[in-house]
């Protein structure tokens, strides 16, 4: 009976929202107003730089309205809309204003409540003439059922949903996984373990091991309660490089694929994360673990790289708090932003010059990864019932688009591909009948 009632309630809600899509109507009118204003204007960059919510809608609901508006403006090919939101808290949006100089028009949005209606005030400011050039107010009824729907946390846009494409059984001590397409167009999958890197190729739906590289670690050696490591694979001038580090050795192994074999290069004195370009120079970005621990010391290392050589003399160091994980968003290799889960499980967002842009107050898990400067995934602050939070990070923004439950604990997340789908590898530890099981999952978007 209860189930039947729940079903009825859900159906009722959807019928209601179908017939009473007040937020959609409101968005249509607001976005149309903005689009109309920009008719006839070309090569302009616009962005919302201020978003205040006085409507009585929850933070989550207001954020969803923002996403609806952004989604509509981004889909308009005639204007170049840049999403700069990095956080939404206490009814105010926080924006990455380091790109302010690139903008021609700034948009201020304010949501208010007018009796039983929700209103949106839009102001457009022209930087070239230093004046407000557009002011418009629209309102619509948003009934309680619709508000309820807006406040459901798992609600996401259909086109944004990530789903689990595959799940594989895994060895217990998998540290990291990377994928790369070689120069012949064949896919290669690199699996990092404590003492080896296994390289696989795809045959049908199966992975076939083609090579195993032994990793020989020497003293000083710092045994750990929870060993972990990172793998970096990148092409530079058509040569494939491979680097692997961990939390029990102060050095990382570095290899170059030369004449059909892996040649070991000089050890790196840090754990590599990404190959990045900064101000026209190439670097291997990484950091050092606090030896034997599962967090990194507060220094990001940028080691200049040129054709297999590391120039330690010009090594750059950037100070950040102690952190569990970091990833860099890059366009091609150009460093765009850095994302950190610090030792207190707070998410921190940094611009390309390592200026801190925001710190999230809500705690997150210790795993995070970004992909193609477009998506960022973070695990949850929980061990038994973990979650994945998918953020859109294009253009220096950070908007929570979708979240989903994961059965088990997320150990690490790594970006990559499976067949033709881009997405995230997620390594999960599950407890089944008092025994730990390890699963490697691949999450991808259904329309990408």
């Amino acid at each position: 009976m209860k189930k039947a009632l729940s079903f009825f309630f859900i159906v009722f809600l959807f019928i209601k929202i179908f017939y009473a899509n007040g937020i959609g109507n409101l968005n249509n009118r607001v976005s149309k107003g903005i689009e109309d204003f920009f008719i006839g204007k070309y090569n302009i960059n616009i962005s919302i730089v201020k978003f205040d919510n006085y409507s009585g809608l929850s933070n989550l609901a207001a954020q969803k309205y923002y996403q609806l508006l952004v989604s509509r403006l981004e889909s308009n090919k005639k204007i170049n809309f840049i999403d700069l939101m990095i956080n939404f808290d206490k009814n105010k949006g926080e924006f990455n204003l380091t790109r302010r100089n690139e903008l021609n028009y700034l948009i201020y949005i304010k949501m208010i409540k007018n009796k039983n209606k929700i209103g949106v005030g839009t102001v457009i400011f022209s930087k070239s003439i230093d004046k407000i050039v557009y002011i418009k107010y629209f309102e619509d009824i948003i009934n309680n059922e619709e508000k309820d729907i807006l406040n459901i946390r798992n609600y996401g846009f259909k086109e944004s949903v990530f789903f689990k494409l595959i799940e594989l059984d895994s060895e217990i001590n998998l540290f990291d996984i990377k994928t790369v397409r070689d120069l012949k167009g064949e896919d290669r999958y690199f699996f990092l373990y404590p003492e080896k890197i296994d390289i696989y190729k795809l045959e049908g739906n199966n992975l076939k091991k083609i090579l195993s590289i032994k990793l020989k670690w020497k003293r000083p050696f710092y045994p750990t309660l929870e060993p972990e490591g990172r793998l970096l694979v990148f092409y530079f001038k058509n040569i494939l490089y491979l680097a692997a580090g961990n939390n029990f050795s102060p050095v990382s192994k570095f290899f170059m694929f030369n004449e059909n074999k892996w040649e070991e290069l000089t050890d790196l004195d840090f754990v590599p994360f990404r190959f990045v370009e900064l101000n026209g120079n190439y670097y291997i970005a990484g950091a050092n673990y606090e030896y034997g621990m599962n967090y990194f010391n507060g220094k990001i290392v940028l080691a200049p790289f040129y054709s297999g050589n590391i120039n330690y003399e010009y090594k750059l160091e950037k100070g950040v708090p102690l952190f569990y994980s970091i990833d860099f968003s890059t366009i091609e290799h150009r460093l765009n932003s850095a994302h950190i889960i610090d030792k207190n499980y707070n998410f921190r967002f940094y611009s390309a010059d390592f200026t801190e842009q925001s710190v999230e107050k809500e705690k997150r898990g210790s795993s995070l990864c970004s992909m193609s400067n477009k998506w960022l995934v973070i695990s949850d602050y929980s061990k038994l019932n973990d979650k994945l939070f998918f953020y859109k990070i294009e253009s220096g923004a950070k908007s929570l688009i979708y979240e989903t439950n994961v059965n088990g604990e997320v150990v690490f997340i790594s970006s990559g591909f499976w067949k033709k789908a881009d997405g995230f590898w997620v390594f999960v530890k599950k407890m089944k009948r008092y025994i730990n099981e390890f699963k490697l999952q691949f999450w991808s978007k259904n329309n990408e």
Partner: protein
């Protein structure tokens, strides 16, 4: 209707309980382990940083800085942090110990398989019962590459369990270093000792930033020893240690008058009663011993008259040093002068071999679960000193034989015979017993108690 209503309420209440429990479980396990923080443990001040198992406090302290070859968990599992692989080959009657790669002492110097062999030999040369048992089984020990081979005289798969003895620790011959989870960083005598994580610890660096071993009563520690059931507090948990410590007065030399022995025994019984310890009327514990020992006690006047004119030098095992001030005050009140000399466990045998020691106050630690015959064996082998003779050897061998007959009555009878012989020979009298629980703050998680009653701090962490 009414009963239905009540049952409904009960169901709701149970559901709520389950929900709350689930919530607690989720919160308990929320996310990764917290790093950092410190734990204060109140223990007796050790006499040195060398390994000691002569009392419970020393046993716990030693387990923090010295690494055992193996640990025996309460459920019978054997765990090691220094061997990559270990196994017993029945056909070759040999135990193989393969060292983990790249292990280091606390100073970063490499641990080699030779250190394993030397540590094993050092253990076998000691006077512990566990050492003696192992000596009887082992044919030879040799090393090849990174593997140590222990060849046995006969098939004995239980040898691995014997190797879980707390006394079998990994040592360095060359350096004054440590192999345990922590290393001593700062020692302020009579106050505290700071232990910091050994970053080369074979089992993985500790989560805790440091441990403060406190010897004073300045403030309530996070972990301390207490009499079972005597401490209650909502923010503390009590763990039964399964351990008791017995105090004995030994008379290693034969030339001591019976009156002097009894007078001294009377004095010690009075003292330990005055400081709240349980009187001990058996060699092991009163509830398990088949024989009660009733040694007559003298009146105060008689005792004083005997002891006042005896020039007594009392050698005391250093683990009892914490009682020194109380004991001296007690003697002062009794108007007696007795010289007290403290000796460490490691020097004791050497001292006994070269000096005529008449009075020796000693302490021994027992695991409650240990079989009675094992305890008696330990008492005979570890405390008879020069008085160990052929008769004892014969009695012990007979005890070993009886064990295999699987006849409980015969076994107890043999134990009784040995106890009777010991007491009649008069070289050891039981004085008092201490029992312990470990009391620990709730915020400390991840501590496991091993079979020998030691709290293992390898995965200890603090809940925020």
């Amino acid at each position: 209707m009414n009963s239905n209503y009540n049952s409904g309420v009960r169901t709701m209440s149970n559901l709520t309980k389950i929900f709350v429990l689930l919530l607690i479980v989720v919160v308990m396990f929320s996310i990764k382990t917290n790093y950092g923080g410190n734990i204060t443990i109140r223990l007796n001040e050790p006499s040195s940083l060398s390994f000691s198992s002569s009392n419970y406090s020393d046993l716990i302290f030693s387990s923090l800085i010295h690494e055992n070859f193996f640990y025996l968990k309460d459920n019978g599992d054997i765990v090691t942090y220094i061997f990559k692989d270990y196994r017993y080959d029945k056909s070759k009657k040999t135990i193989f110990l393969k060292l983990k790669d790249n292990l280091s002492f606390s100073n970063g110097e490499p641990i080699t398989i030779k250190d394993v062999k030397n540590s094993l030999n050092s253990f076998l040369n000691q006077n512990f019962l566990s050492s003696k048992k192992m000596r009887k089984i082992i044919k030879k020990i040799y090393v090849e590459k990174d593997i140590a081979y222990i060849e046995l005289l006969y098939d004995n798969p239980d040898t691995l369990t014997l190797m879980t003895a707390p006394e079998l620790i990994l040592l360095s011959e060359k350096y004054q270093v440590f192999t345990g989870l922590f290393y001593p960083a700062e020692w302020v005598k009579n106050q505290y000792l700071i232990l910091r994580p050994n970053k080369f610890y074979s089992g993985g660096r500790a989560y805790i930033e440091y441990i403060r071993v406190s010897f004073s009563e300045d403030y309530l520690p996070d972990v301390f020893l207490a009499n079972p059931g005597t401490f209650s507090g909502s923010s503390y948990n009590e763990f039964k240690s399964g351990i008791y410590e017995n105090i004995y007065i030994c008379f290693p030399e034969e030339k001591i008058g019976q009156n002097s022995k009894i007078a001294f025994y009377t004095l010690l019984r009075q003292y330990y009663k005055s400081v709240g310890l349980t009187e001990l009327n058996s060699l092991t514990s009163d509830e398990e011993s088949p024989v009660s020992i009733n040694i007559r006690k003298l009146s105060n006047r008689r005792m004083r008259s005997i002891l006042r004119y005896s020039k007594i030098e009392l050698y005391i095992i250093s683990s009892l040093k914490g009682d020194d001030e109380n004991f001296k005050e007690f003697l002062r009140k009794k108007g007696l002068e007795i010289d007290t000399i403290y000796v460490s466990g490691s020097n004791l045998q050497n001292l006994l071999d070269n000096n005529p020691i008449k009075y020796l106050l000693i302490q021994k630690l027992f695991k409650k679960k240990t079989l009675l015959e094992e305890k008696i064996n330990k008492i005979v082998r570890e405390m008879s000193f020069k008085r160990f003779n052929e008769k004892y050897l014969k009695l012990i061998n007979e005890l070993d034989e009886v064990k295999f007959l699987n006849n409980e009555e015969l076994l107890i009878d043999q134990i009784s015979k040995i106890i009777d012989k010991i007491i009649n020979d008069g070289f050891i009298y039981p004085v008092a017993q201490k029992r312990y629980s470990i009391v620990m703050k709730n915020k400390i998680k991840g501590i496991e108690m091993d079979y020998y009653g030691r709290p293992l701090f390898q995965k200890a962490r603090l809940d925020k």
